[in-house]
Amino acid sequence: MTTVAARSLPRFGGFTLGMIRLELRRMVRNRRTVIFTLVMPAAFFLLFGTNAASRTESIGDGGNVTGYILVSMAVYGAMLATTSGGAMVSIERAAGWSRQLRLTPLKPIAYIAVKLVLAMIIGAVSVAVAFLVGSVSGAKLPVHAWIECGLLAWVCALVFAAFGLFMGYLLPSENVMQILGPVLAVLSFAGGLFVPVDNLGHTFATIAKFTPVYGVGEIARYPLTHDGNLWLAALNVIVWTALFAAGAIWRFRRDTARV
């Protein structure tokens, strides 16, 4: 047996690439996650975004409506991916896995960091898959917009990684995504991902601007549309990220104090 003195703690509180690799493999194994985050957004895009009218109507400098819808769907996918990444916490708490992890050197903060990284990785894959499907299905965007819209959709989805974590700690459910899936669909609708906010009528359009999906969508589409109030959208994203992060931290603190 090793002597007491020879023992040491792992670096970075136990945050390792090895853990991320294993967690990714597990995530991919979950068919529901794959369908939710990779197949569904692309399918929605093909269903709603590729009709003749959308392909021919141009937007901005060399883009078309199909491209506009593609970016919205990429945001939707990234959002689903990052939310389910964060919400993994809920399943792991229900299974007693979080408790098991407390019998290892893994620091709670490193655990959260791993979950965030995972959420962002599948978010990136989700955006990439949607864009790949879009590029061969008639979506047109200027070259810079392909890159900028993709990056912005991905980075802004951090809001929903925080949202997923918050919900993951709040809802002690094995099937948390069955609750969050419909919630995200409603938020996406309200935030103008499925239908442009301006088509919703004045009152509703005003309310929509305060919902958490609105800002992300506006920012992600901005490189294509150069339309709308970017500062308002940025404020929306920042405020909601702060709120969800604060909620996640609050629940997380309670969780680690109790167990």
Partner: protein, 313 residues
């Protein structure tokens, strides 16, 4: 009713102890789960925490692992706070249920544990081998039987090569065969000198695998002795006889008598070879109305853990 023969309570030196619980109390709201436990365990001991459900065993284990904080008193594991001892891999545990993810394979679960403890990948196969689950490494945890899952927990617990291994009701829900295999694995492992504490309400397990048994009841230790002492207390038989004017010291000198008790005209002689005792009493004394009764661990357990009316509290 307390039998104290605790090895290690004398010459208390926290730094040398594997476990040191000092005046530990744990309350959850108005419920007192642990009500003032003092317990010292030296390295290398195999200790059974024995008691009925709700006695405070799991709460005690949780505090040893840093999963719960004592309301009063201090807990030290190898001279450190439990949380630190856990992080350093000095102490690990096999918990009763849960703590596994269904969509990992057996091997991946152990691999992840190795990654978390900063161990090289080579230790994974070894741990699977030691726990006897090398053949099901590729199986999803969700498809494993209760016994297999428990051995997986065991494999995970062994990974940091802990000085102290804690098992909380480790064989709950296992069939007889599974239980046997599990204890075989633990026994092989403990032979290497690891300190082991296991909580159980199976008397046979405490009897067969512990060299020290700590009885817990209502959050307090009611008896603490080596396995052989507990066995002596528990096994054997008692000869009851009517013998007016008996003298305790004389009775105790009878061959085969471990303990003697006098209540009025009645004497109770406890020992292993009660036939010899009975023969002696009938041949060499005025004893009459002999009665021989057996006591087993079950009875000792019940006596020690029952709520005595107007009892010791």
């Amino acid at each position: 009713m307390t039998l104290t023969a605790s090895p290690g309570t004398t010459g208390r030196d926290t730094a040398d102890l594997a476990v040191d619980l000092d005046g530990v109390v744990k309350r959850y709201g108005t419920v007192t789960a642990v009500d003032g436990i003092n317990l010292s365990i030296r390295p290398g001991e195999v200790v059974a925490l024995l008691g009925p459900n709700g006695a405070g065993k799991t709460t005690t284990v949780d505090m040893l692992l840093g999963l719960a904080q004592p309301t009063e008193g201090t807990v030290r594991v190898y001279g450190r706070k439990p949380h630190n001892a856990v992080a350093l891999g000095l102490v690990s545990a096999v918990m009763q249920t849960g703590g596994l993810l269904k969509d990992y394979t057996v091997e991946e679960t152990v691999k992840l544990t190795a990654v978390l403890f900063g161990k090289p990948p080579s230790v994974v196969g070894e741990a699977l081998e030691r726990a006897g689950i090398a053949d099901i490494g590729k199986r999803l945890v969700g498809k494993c039987s209760g016994g297999q899952q428990q051995r997986l927990r065991f494999a995970m617990a062994l990974l940091p090569d802990p000085e102290l291994l804690i098992l909380d009701e480790p064989t709950t829900g296992m069939d007889v065969g599974g239980r046997h295999d599990f204890w075989q694995a633990i026994r092989r492992d403990a032979a290497g000198g690891r300190t082991v504490i296991f909580a159980t309400h199976y008397l046979e397990e405490a009897d067969a695998y512990a060299d020290r048994v700590v009885f817990v009841r209502r959050g307090q230790i009611v008896a603490d002795g080596t396995a052989s002492q507990v066995k002596a207390l528990a096994s054997g038989r008692t000869v009851r006889a009517t013998l007016p004017g008996a003298v305790a010291s004389e009775l105790e000198s009878i061959a085969g008598v471990d303990t003697a008790e006098i209540r009025g005209d009645t004497v109770y002689l406890h020992g292993r070879d009660t036939d010899d005792i009975a023969r002696y009493l009938l041949n060499s004394t005025a004893a009459r109305d002999l009665e021989i009764t057996s006591r087993n661990l079950e009875e000792a357990f019940l006596t020690l853990t029952a709520d005595d009316a107007g009892g010791s509290r």
